[in-house]
């Protein structure tokens, strides 16, 4: 029987994808006059959310182990500030700085992972401290807004348009608009694919699921739970640093207030994508569509133009509520079967 293979999780993922398609199609029909149906709308969602996508991938991995990482937003702010100050004030090499940022991400993750895995402190508290630390360190590095303008390589990367060979259209002004993506989108998509393959085909990926599914039995099977958790947080902070670079390529500046609340967007994307906070269930493909849904909602509200932007928060929250209720119903069905 083929149907037997369809677990509740697959259905959830399926629903997420269907919801995205329906929402996007509705937008195309209703707002076609406002340019919603151009390919570029979709690409803009990707461009605007490239950083978030990387972060959501990391968040998914952490959530698979049953943990959470709310330090990501501040870490991104710190990365952006470091990149901008490094390039503008210290005149450092862009590539060296990017490597430095990635190393800092790994160290950040090591400390958090150690506290969570080996000291057995709750992930929420540890990453909350990480959140305070990141935000504060951003202010310690510099309290001004610093913009990147002098570093040729970084500016060129940020302004590089990668045109796509299809979907061009002529605007009302008679200018041919060729759809394009930015380098950050390429980075984010590569991250997505790598993490997807890693979760599916490597031992580490399966360990993450095992630890989140049932810690005791994972220990009994001979898995090093502590080490797996440590690795998960290192991975999350590392991906977050990649996300920080993508984010910086988009905003080209560093300021203390940047990426506030991004962690909640990442968590809600993962949850909408079918990842359970209890761990053991989830997929980065789901999180990808979670990010897309988040982006589509805010684009819809923006395209309308007459609505207060609080509506997009409310719509995301309503969706979140819907998915949470759905998940719990599935869980109940599963329990009653057992």
């Amino acid at each position: 029987m083929k149907n037997k293979k369809i677990s509740s999780n697959t259905i959830l993922l399926f629903i997420t994808i269907a919801l995205f398609v329906v929402m996007y199609a509705a937008g195309c029909i209703v707002y076609s006059a406002k340019g919603f149906s151009h390919l570029q709308t979709f690409l803009n969602i990707l461009i605007n959310n490239a950083g978030l996508l990387c972060v959501a991938c990391g968040m998914t991995c952490v959530m698979l182990t049953g943990g959470i990482d709310i330090s990501v937003g501040s870490l991104i702010a710190m990365d952006c500030m470091l990149l901008s100050v490094g390039m503008e004030r210290w005149h450092m090499n862009a590539i060296a700085l990017c490597v430095l940022v990635l190393v800092i991400g790994i160290v950040f993750g090591l400390v958090q992972g150690f506290c969570i895995g080996y000291l057995e402190i709750q992930p929420f508290i540890v990453t909350m401290a990480g959140m305070f630390f990141g935000r504060g360190m951003t202010a310690v590095i510099c309290t001004d807004q610093v913009s990147i303008s002098s570093n040729k390589l970084f500016v060129a990367l940020a302004n590089m348009k990668i045109p796509l060979p299809f979907g061009a259209y002529t605007s009302r002004r008679g200018i041919v608009q060729v759809p394009y993506i930015r380098i950050s989108v390429v980075i984010a998509l590569v991250v997505l694919v790598v993490i997807f393959l890693m979760l599916r085909y490597t031992k580490f990926g399966r360990n993450l699921y095992a630890v989140g599914g049932n810690e005791t039995s994972a220990t009994m099977m001979g898995l090093n739970v502590k080490k797996t958790k440590l690795k998960a947080y290192v991975l999350s902070s590392f991906l977050c640093s990649i996300g920080g670079i993508c984010y910086c390529l988009n905003t080209m500046s560093g300021s203390v207030q940047q990426a506030k609340g991004l962690e909640m967007n990442a968590i809600s994307s993962a949850v909408i994508g079918g990842t359970l906070l209890t761990g053991g269930v989830g997929n980065v493909i789901g999180s990808f569509f979670g990010v897309l849904i988040n982006g589509t909602i805010s684009t819809l509200v923006k395209t309308n133009g007459k609505l207060l932007s609080s509506w997009s928060n409310i719509a995301v929250a309503a969706l979140l509520c819907f998915f949470i209720v759905l998940q719990s119903i599935f869980a109940k069905i599963k329990n009653s079967k057992n």
């Binding site: 959470i68 506290c115 080996y118 000291l119 057995e120 402190i121 709750q122 929420f124 508290i125 540890v126 909350m128 401290a129 990480g130 959140m131 305070f132 630390f133 935000r135 504060g136 360190m137 951003t138 202010a139 310690v140 309290t143 203390v256 909640m264 968590i267 809600s268 949850v271 359970l276 906070l277 209890t278 207060l308 609080s310 509506w311 928060n313 409310i314 995301v316 929250a317 309503a318 979140l320 509520c321 949470i324 209720v325 998940q327 719990s328 119903i329 869980a331 109940k332």
Partner: protein, 353 residues
């Protein structure tokens, strides 16, 4: 040696120790800057009201203390945190001010409805929010953090809609009362004291405190023992909502306006921190209300001290983070085990010599 152990073993040791540490820092700072050593502790009556840094801490810390009460119960019963309290505060303030001023009015000196209606409606809405969270957590078995994430993002936005995206000012002396003075004592202190007294009385006089702990320790076992676990968790969330509502009214009365974007911003984190500082495990089970409240005031004391030391408000979180990590690391069981092993080794060495 055993005496020290006895003291450190006390449940309230950690929060009180932190408080003392913060105060010691203040004494040294005052001495260092050539002022009277107990400058920090001087309380005087100026302009007919109490005045001094200590009073400030008690006054400003009221909201966090009120939130910490509800948060303690929620953490204990459901082994999870309610991250929506800050947003619910803002929503309460928005509804209350919107009713008092009338929809779409940005500033008013006269009340559109009686004060009590606005305040009660606000608090009632907060209770409804609490009930919503409670329903998701207790009856649908949703992880508390995810369940409260919904209102975390929605409540503030709904508040903005209620206020029509404006900052609503209610410049009225009656409304000012909640953030003002009762006689010579700041009202927030009185409100916090009443909340603490009522909740602790209820917990002491009834078996509710026990029930909450047993549900937190093992939900299923408690159900078998005849407790309605769901109902108790549900109740805890309603209390948490109620407390968030009260805190929201106080916060909005303080600035006599409903500033949806800023009221209660990051308060959920401070409240959770207060619970953790109070020596409560975020894993649920046993709780200590007094610890949480001392924890709340400790946080405010840290903030005030950092101000006094001239640390910029943007950089303050670094110190907060370091303090948090040290405190929770000391509490962590593996760390304790390591310390025990170390002391055992010492004892062994002593015995050998």
């Amino acid at each position: 040696m055993s005496k020290i152990k006895k003291i450190t073993g006390q449940p309230l040791f950690l929060p009180i120790f932190c408080m003392l540490l913060v105060m010691a820092v203040n004494i040294f700072y005052d001495l260092g800057s050539g002022r009277f050593a107990f400058n920090f502790f001087t309380v005087s009556i100026r302009n007919g009201v109490l005045y001094g840094r200590l009073i400030d801490i008690l006054n400003r810390g009221s909201e966090i203390a009120i939130l910490a009460i509800g948060m303690t119960l929620v953490v204990s019963a459901s082994a999870g945190t309610d991250i929506s309290v800050g947003s619910v505060m803002s929503l309460t303030a928005s509804l209350c001010c919107m009713l008092l001023a009338g929809y779409g009015v940005a500033s008013t000196n006269t009340l559109a409805v009686p004060l009590i209606v606005g305040v009660l409606a606000g608090i009632l809405l907060a209770c409804v929010c609490g009930a919503f969270n409670g329903f998701l957590v207790a009856y649908l078995n949703v992880q508390p953090m995810v369940a409260t994430l919904i209102l975390f993002s929605a409540a503030r936005a709904i508040g903005l809609l209620l206020c029509n995206n404006l900052i609503v000012y209610v410049r009225n002396d009656a409304f000012k009362f909640f953030g003002g003075y009762l006689g010579f004592i700041p009202t927030p202190i009185v409100i916090a004291a009443i909340c603490i007294a009522v909740v602790s009385l209820v917990l002491k006089r009834t078996a509710l405190g026990m029930y909450i702990q047993s549900v937190g320790i093992n939900k299923d076992a408690s159900r078998i023992a005849g407790l309605n676990s769901e109902k108790i968790i549900f109740l805890c969330y309603i209390v948490c909502g109620l407390m968030a509502g009260i805190a929201g009214i106080v916060a909005s009365s303080r600035i006599s306006s409903a500033d949806s974007n800023n009221i209660g911003l990051n308060y959920e984190l401070d409240a959770i921190l207060a619970v953790a500082l109070g020596g409560n495990s975020l894993g649920g089970g046993k709780f200590n209300l007094a610890g949480s409240i001392i924890g709340a005031y400790t946080i405010q004391a840290i903030t005030t001290t950092l101000f006094a030391l001239g640390v910029s408000s943007d950089q303050a979180p670094v110190y907060k983070a370091i303090i948090v990590i040290i405190i929770v690391a000391i509490q962590a069981p593996p760390f304790n085990a390591w310390v025990k092993r170390l002391s055992a080794k010492k004892a062994l060495a002593k015995g050998g010599a």
